[in-house]
Symmetry: C2
Subunit: 458 residues, 2 copies
């Protein structure tokens, strides 16, 4: 341990390979099912949505996957990202714990999302794809993919949840500035969108609906347009492993090793990105780091959901995967951490959580904002509302260590800055945000809200 | 020269001393005059506004000033900032030039402003000050000082130009989240503000008016409130020298040396910050780097202004300094680079420009935005509208080198990101911004708009 604050690596320390937990995982991945037949899907079916290199990564058992030089060259524009020791936060808490954070918010998109966006744009480009389509909630993913598509000269259509499209014009403008087209979902461009609009012309949209629209556009394009997803899928988590691999090197620079690694979870990619390289050290090298996923009480798929097969979207267009889910028709309360408002969870995170390799906790949003404000006032950076959930849990761990008089080494992922989320902070500053948790009644009935298990032959 | 992209330093490379060009400058600084008597001011007069350590720096001839450990500890949260070689921009331009940029936008405030804000908050704190007051235009400076005041537990009142207050609510909320109070200027809190409101109840405000309000509050507080300024004054430029000092080390890592160093200028602090350490190398070590200040055609104080004594504010509250000025009552056209909308220029930049040690050029805003968008699409980062002026000039240099078949090494300061400026990019995307230049008629009459030189005994 030393008293350093800022742990910087050189560009030679950017990993040359991504890490794939499926090469080490003691839990075999469940099959991915066709949305209509419920039979295991073939690569052919997936290839209507994704280019072959990404499908290969999705099912790969290789522990390491080489990062193409073209991708690594772009990583060099903002990676390695810094790891910072939060001396000032520790002092404010009066804790003997050491708190470190990996800061992904200095990327051009302001979050970790661009780590996979660049990789996905690259593999589509070398597969001859010219156009991509995707959905976005609060806009973090859409922004990241817009930047990546401008690097590789790909067209991009983004279906943005309508209420966010209206409330967060800055994110839309950011996407447009990089050359993407952005539509308020539901749109009249898709059958699925038109159906939702027919039911309710003022439909505010949801991530599940926006996914259905983007997927429909890809499926109907005769291979001309591919679809891109910013979380949940395994290849996304693979690309995010650069976060954890760099963190391992930076913890070594600090001459410490984390007792607990923390990340917020919506679909699971920033958490998987920082946690899985540490899980490898647990599995292969006998380390005992606790890996702690933090979800909002408004969408507690790990802590309150069912571990079963479900659709990724509202419109039944996506493959069916085994995951922790609140039911694909569930629309989470409009909390400010838009990136955490998803009914499901990455299958890899789900299976490892189910098998006891990961821990999870749910946090109400007011506590998360309070933690974020304390962090801003002590460490300077204003965090994204999503990241506030990780900060809140890191603080809880530090205070628990203080109660127990324990030295504890805590590492969390500060996945993004909050410079696009000031309207949320204004609501917080004026005591205008409310907590929301799932109703017990809803939780009791989740099983009626997922596909009929009996019809699934697995 | 090597093919590296990302030049990172370790925290030990953060300078331990600021550099003061006045210790090397061949041009003696002009005296600072009292706003009423027009006699050289005493430290006593200045001490109504600033704490003594900052007044000492303002007039110091010491080449180096130690950076206090408390300030350096906070610099470690975001410094050293990266220097990046813009390989992808070079390729897009097809230029043999090598383009490097120093990126100050990864700071908690999103710009370089926090480098001096932390120092100013520190010196006020150790001088027993409990409250600060300042003005802000687009909000970059107000945000930076809000963050710094939260580190040192100082109260802060920010007078924000009313039209920006209304157009840029995110900046206001950012300041409030860190605990500052933010007022739309002109306010009814000051005599000066009430006078402007009496003349025009809908007065949109200006930086000159907001400065008058903040200064009035400090002058009338019987020493309880001090005033803080984000540019123009020499101690501000001293604090920003960390940018240039780090850049010198990073250029050495790249095994190159810049032929030209470029920064945008409003008050002159980010330019002085990156340029003056290179000017030292010119003066003392025979280097021949061109130092190029870029201003907007809408406020071209260096290229079209008068070099004479003038007030820093509209309300005649500030000291009178010798600088390039467009006249203290000049209100620049509402260009989107709010940080460059100032009638004057740092006296140090002015005197060195006048003596031929610096160059200057003025750029219209549409060309600046085009350059910024090309930069975003090739290098990823969306720049602040102010920084776009530096980018545009770097591109012009690179194209000139291409025309002449010259290898040229170009370094510019990317002073901030544009994540708070998306409404400006929307106007640009929709072809709704216009260029504006000073009228020749106005330029001919500037001398009638500055204080009567005959009454100034210098």
């Amino acid at each position: 341990m030393n008293q350093q604050t800022h742990f910087t690596l050189s560009e030679n320390d950017i990993p040359t390979q991504w890490y794939n937990i499926n090469g080490d995982s003691p839990v075999p991945p469940a099959p991915v099912l066709h949305p209509i037949t419920k039979e295991p899907v073939t690569p052919d079916f997936l290839s209507a949505l994704f280019p072959m290199p990404l499908i290969e990564q999705e099912i790969s058992q290789d522990r390491y996957i080489d990062i193409p030089e073209e991708v690594r060259d772009i990583y060099k524009l903002y990676r390695p990202t810094p790891m910072i020791r939060a001396h000032r936060l520790e002092k404010a808490l009066g804790t003997p714990a050491h708190i470190y954070y990996k800061y992904e918010g200095a990327s051009p998109a302001g979050s970790h999302k661009v780590n996979t966006a660049i990789a996905q744009a690259y593999y589509n480009k070398i597969s001859g794809v010219k156009s991509l389509t995707t959905e976005t909630g609060a806009g973090q993913w859409g922004s990241a993919l817009s930047i990546a598509c401008s690097f590789f000269d790909l067209d991009l259509d983004v279906y943005m949840v309508k209420c966010s499209y209206q409330q967060k014009p800055y994110r839309r403008i950011l996407m447009e500035t990089y050359g993407a087209n952005c539509f308020a979902s539901p749109t009249d461009r898709t059958e699925c969108g038109r159906a939702f609009l027919a039911e309710d012309p003022n439909c505010p949209g949801s991530l599940g609906i926006a996914i259905s629209e983007a997927v429909e556009m890809a499926l109907k394009s005769n291979g001309k347009i591919k679809y891109s997803l910013g979380s949940v899928l395994h290849h996304v988590l693979i690309h995010q492993s650069v976060i954890g691999e760099e963190s391992l090197k930076q913890m070594a620079m600090a001459d410490e090793y984390p007792d607990v690694v923390i990340g917020c979870v919506g679909g699971g990619s920033n958490f998987g990105g920082i946690a899985f390289p540490f899980l490898r050290e647990n599995l292969r090298n006998g380390m005992k780091t606790r890996l702690l996923a933090v979800e909002p009480t408004a969408a507690p798929s790990l802590t309150r959901g069912l571990y079963t097969f479900d659709y990724g979207d509202t419109g039944h267009m996506t493959p069916v995967v085994k995951m922790h889910t609140l039911g694909h028709s569930f629309i989470p309360a409009p909390i400010h951490a838009g990136g955490l408002r998803y009914h499901g969870m990455a299958p890899t995170v789900s299976s490892l959580y189910d098998a006891g390799y990961l821990e999870a906790v749910a946090i109400p949003q007011i506590r998360a904002f309070k933690a974020g404000q304390l962090f801003a006032k002590t460490e300077g950076i204003l965090p994204a509302p999503e990241s506030n959930h990780a900060i809140c849990t890191a603080i809880n761990e530090a205070l628990d260590a203080k109660d127990k008089g324990e030295k504890r080494v805590i590492l969390f992922n500060l996945s993004g800055h909050g410079h696009f989320d000031l309207s949320s902070y204004e609501a917080f500053n004026n005591n205008k945000i409310v907590d929301s948790a799932m109703s017990e009644e809803y939780i009791r009935t989740i099983s009626s809200r997922v596909p009929d298990l009996l019809s699934i032959p697995v």
